[in-house]
């Protein structure tokens, strides 16, 4: 740096520190506080969505035993559960939460480049959450159109919440996208412009790479959702016909003519498929760093990992119609989209190999974050492989819209990213709070969550093979279903309740450890990345005290030969310790 930023001059620094409680914790512009605000809000709505899933499972496991759950409520639960989990929990948590926390710390920046916009991003996100939750209580209730919100049914008679509920849902999505855009521009700009000296792109930790590419995907994909939401709002409120063809509804002719329901599906999935990777790429990145740290070993094939993230991100924009093989679109599309979809399996598989090869010849500490990371590899292999079934167009014919699909995407996009969320929370908890969590409770939480979720989702695939359709309130006496299918459903429900209750252990651990946890060292796992090298734990406003760090090596100098200590932080000068990757062992 040829100059000193004004904010970095000694006498200027304190002027920027927040002075009042409100500045510090409410209208905070500190990325770490905003990260926690995002995280807590996202987890709060996530818990609501989890409760909704338990309600759904109660009906499926024990049909018609609860007067609280009728078909109308059921479809509302289905819709809200899906939408909250995908958008308001996972997207917000990975990007707004971890993105916010990790990008400036890992890149050696003082903060996001636009702190005010970053603050605004959170409050607008909160507004979108409030609109979403309000829709549960308006006349007619929340929309029950399924999280895909397919028109015509999302805005016509016969679907719960087709009047106010869907309008609020679309409005909430619009507001969310505004919030995301403000945050996303910030994350991308910060990564590109505010890295500390020496932090080249190819020295960035994979967490930052994953979040960075996911954010770019989001900035390119969310506009497709925004336009489809706007067009659907116009169809609903101004009676236009973007998605609405000539049709009848409850016996009445509607005024619409000429709209295309399939157009909506293309727009939705043009967003929706990259959305899978908006959630997955940050998880890929984070899990890479957790694995390397706790295996005391460099991530295997770092450059391949970076290129795989980029390749997956790019390919994710040309696979969307694999969600639509049986939608009635031109069937010749099937050839193209099946091919692109299976191609994406290659870089994805390489990532899995490299995670496993990172463990190989490591010195593996099986601490709580590491357990969750290994659990993730297992569930992600499972969910990834079942994706090959569904991506291969002809296999999708029998399996589309069955419980196989539900099981697949919960495995790959529900359980797997959530295991990474837990890995990440446990991994960075000492840095965020300055306290250690209770290791024993953490292990219990891991075991019960992993085994519980697997006993939910493994059998669920087989209901799909059998032909049980998704989004069914009840099966009744369906000829091709053996009676034992109901017993299986009951067992899945019991597992689901078990997993839901298990999360109480997590919350108990996180909350009590804030006060009772052992004081954490600044770098308890012996990690190399910059966030562990801050002068204070938790890091103070501005992160680095007087001097910004300077980076001299990649993020994975673990167990460098000839060094006594088994990790070399990124900011250790090459004059003190030679850079491992440049002088290390090569095959």
């Amino acid at each position: 740096m040829a100059y000193v930023a004004i904010a970095d001059r000694d006498h200027e620094q304190h002027l920027h520190d927040p002075q009042t409680f409100i500045e510090k914790y409410i209208w905070s512009q500190d990325h770490k506080v905003i990260a926690i605000q995002y995280g807590v809000t996202a987890i709060f709505v996530g818990v609501i969505a989890m409760i909704l899933s338990v309600m759904m499972r109660l009906q499926l496991g024990f049909p018609d035993s609860f007067s609280l759950i009728n078909p109308e409520n059921y479809y509302q639960f289905v819709t809200m559960h899906g939408m909250i989990m995908v958008i308001y929990l996972l997207t917000a948590l990975f990007l707004g939460g971890f993105g916010n926390y990790l990008i400036p710390l890992m890149c050696g920046s003082r903060d996001m480049v636009f702190p005010f916009m970053n603050m605004l991003s959170y409050w607008v996100y909160l507004l979108s959450v409030i609109i979403l939750l309000v829709s549960l209580f308006v006349p007619g209730g929340a929309t029950g159109a399924g999280w895909t919100l397919y028109p015509p049914q999302a805005i016509s008679d016969g679907t719960p919440g087709e009047s106010l509920g869907i309008v609020l849902m679309l409005a909430s999505l619009g507001v969310f996208i505004i919030a995301f855009t403000m945050g996303g521009l910030n994350y991308v700009t910060t990564v590109l412009q505010a890295r500390c000296r020496g932090m080249t792109l190819m020295r960035m930790p994979l967490s930052v790479w994953g979040i960075f590419v996911a954010t770019i995907l989001g900035l390119l994909a969310f506009p497709a959702l925004l336009v489809s939401a706007i067009m659907m709002l116009l169809d609903k409120l101004a009676h236009t016909s973007f998605f609405m063809p000539a049709m009848i509804s409850a016996g009445e002719q509607l005024e619409h003519t000429g709209g295309s329901p399939i157009l909506f599906q293309h727009l939705f999935w043009f967003f929706g498929h990259p959305e899978v990777y908006i959630v997955a790429l940050p998880a890929f990145g984070i899990v890479s760093d957790v694995l390397a740290t706790h295996a005391r070993k460099n991530i295997f094939g770092y450059r391949m990992m970076v290129w795989a993230i980029l390749a997956i991100g790019g390919l994710s924009f040309i696979v969307w119609a694999h969600h639509m093989y049986v939608s009635g679109m031109n069937p010749y599309f099937g050839f193209f989209f099946a091919t692109t979809t299976l191609i994406i399996a290659v870089p994805t598989a390489l990532k899995v190999y490299n995670w496993v090869l990172t463990l190989w010849q490591g010195n593996i500490h099986l601490r709580v974050p590491m357990l969750f990371a290994i659990g993730f590899i297992f569930t992600f292999i499972h969910g990834g492989l079942t994706g090959i079934f569904l991506g291969n167009v002809v296999i999708d014919l029998p399996l589309s819209d069955t419980y196989f699909v539900v099981a697949h995407f919960h495995m790959v996009m529900g359980v797997s990213p959530v295991l990474v969320v837990f890995a990440a929370i446990y991994h960075w908890y000492p840095k965020m709070t300055g306290r250690m969590f209770n290791e024993t409770l953490g292990k219990w939480h891991f075991w019960m969550t992993l085994l519980g979720t697997y006993s939910i989702y493994l059998p669920m695939h087989y209901l799909g093979f059998q032909g049980v359709p998704r989004r069914y309130f009840a099966m009744g006496n369906t000829d091709f279903l053996p009676e034992s299918a109901q017993a299986l459903n009951a067992s899945i429900t019991i597992s689901a309740i078990f997993v839901a209750l298990t999360q109480l252990i997590f919350f108990y651990n996180m909350i009590t450890s804030l006060r009772n946890g052992k004081k954490a060292d600044s770098n308890p796992w012996g990690a190399t990345t910059l966030e562990w090298q801050t002068p204070d734990t938790p890091p103070k406003h501005g992160n680095w005290g007087h001097d910004l760090p300077e980076v001299h090596r990649w993020a994975y100098d673990y167990s460098v030969p000839g060094q006594e200590q088994d990790f070399v932080p990124q900011n250790v000068p090459a004059s003190e310790v030679p850079v491992g990757r440049d002088h290390g062992v090569h095959h």
């Binding site: 049909p63 018609d64 007067s67 009728n70 049914q153 679907t159 000539a246 049709m247 009848i248 016996g251 002719q253 329901p261 005391r296 070993k297 094939g301 049986v326 069937p331 099937g334 050839f335 099946a338 091919t339 290659v346 598989a349 899995v352 190999y353 090869l357 463990l359 190989w360 010849q361 010195n363 593996i364 290994i374 297992f378 499972h382 492989l385 291969n392 296999i395 014919l397 029998p398 589309s400 493994l458 059998p459 087989y462 209901l463 093979f465 059998q466 032909g467 359709p469 989004r471 309130f473 009840a474 009744g476 006496n477 369906t478 091709f480 034992s484 088994d566 491992g580 290390g584 062992v585």
Partner: protein
Amino acid sequence: MPIAVVLILLVVGSLIFHFMSPWFFTPLASNWSQVDDTINITFWVTGFVFVAVNLFMAYAVIRYRYRKENRAVYDPENPKLETWLTVFTTVGVAAMLAPGLFVWAKFVDVPDNAMEVEAVAQQWHWSYRLPGEDGQFGNVNAKLITGDNPFGMDPDDPMGSDDVLVHSAELHLPIDQPVKINIRSKDVLHNFTVAQFRVKMDTVPGMVTYMWLTPTVEGRYEVLCEELCGVAHYAMRGAVVVEGRDQFDSWVAGNPTYAETLARPSGNAALGAAQYAVCAACHGQQGEGLQALNAPKLAGQSAWYLRKQLANYKAGIRGTHPDDTYGKQMAPMAMTLPNDQAVENVIAHIRSLPDNRPPATVQGDPGRGAKSYQVCAYCHGAGAQGVQALNAPRMAGMTDWYLQRQLENFKSGIRGEHPQDYYGLQMGFMAQTLQDEQELNDLIAYINTLQGDSAAAD
């Protein structure tokens, strides 16, 4: 260490579950065995990867678990290994994709000798159309759909007059005959799925989609809607009956052509009055219903519903369940109407009777019932006036004790379990959500407060 053991157990357990699971594909009943073959190939390839990678990981965790004296190997990358893994994965993926695309090419290409049928979806029912003797479907138009023209047939298209209209959720197909199923929707998205056929396709309003198959095994298969289509999505059921050519031909002959439906006799109320004398003995001179004789009110009920129920009684779809005491009394009475003309006459007479509100006999809390009614309103209308398009009869202002008994019958399966009673089946699903007698009575108490009367007369 335990994690490695658990990983191994999960792999072994998954394999055991896979091979022991009684839940797997239904026996194939179509030509699409190659779909199953592709699945099997995919199972072998992915199964191998699942076992190999997880066991390798478990081994790595055991072998390289933390020991104080150990140190990880510094091993940033290995281009040779990474290249091999890329090649190996690409080959595996190609081995799965190639057969998939090969079979898909067959699915896209309908054989020339395929016969055509049309499946018509609406919230929450199926009906079907066959092209008739000319082998050509007549034009249809969503704008022409009415209660009297549920298929939206274009009356000016001569191609349409011989189209066979199947006003039932049951489609028959001849065995070993390739069939192209054109799929159309009147309202929202639906999906035509028969699990045993392996293929499915969405229905999209505004366009006609298709799929083809050759049924290979005789039998009756359930049709499920597998695209969310609203609150009764799960109750949208139908059936495909695969049978020999002769049975199929006679089934076709038993369904009316479009021209025949246009020529349906109109009822003569005066003639119907004489016929009604038999009915009056139980249902009352004014069709007001007599609880003592377990005969519901008929006056004010829509013509289409009366027609449907009389047809059900005559066909043995209703009034044949051993526990349906009163239905069994009604069935022989329906038989006394010799033909369609007689049915129409009686209906015309009933439609001319005064529609007086019967006294309420069921006690309940209408406030609580209003909550339960929300789901009913989707089909029966907010005023319980009945909606013909959804095959939902009027309930407001009808005899409430009868309503109560029918709901109990639907709930217990006395009504609606006959395999051909598709609308009854749907009502059975809905009645299941009523928890107990109290909830049922509350619901009826609420319906008693509703004022909707029969909108559709004929």
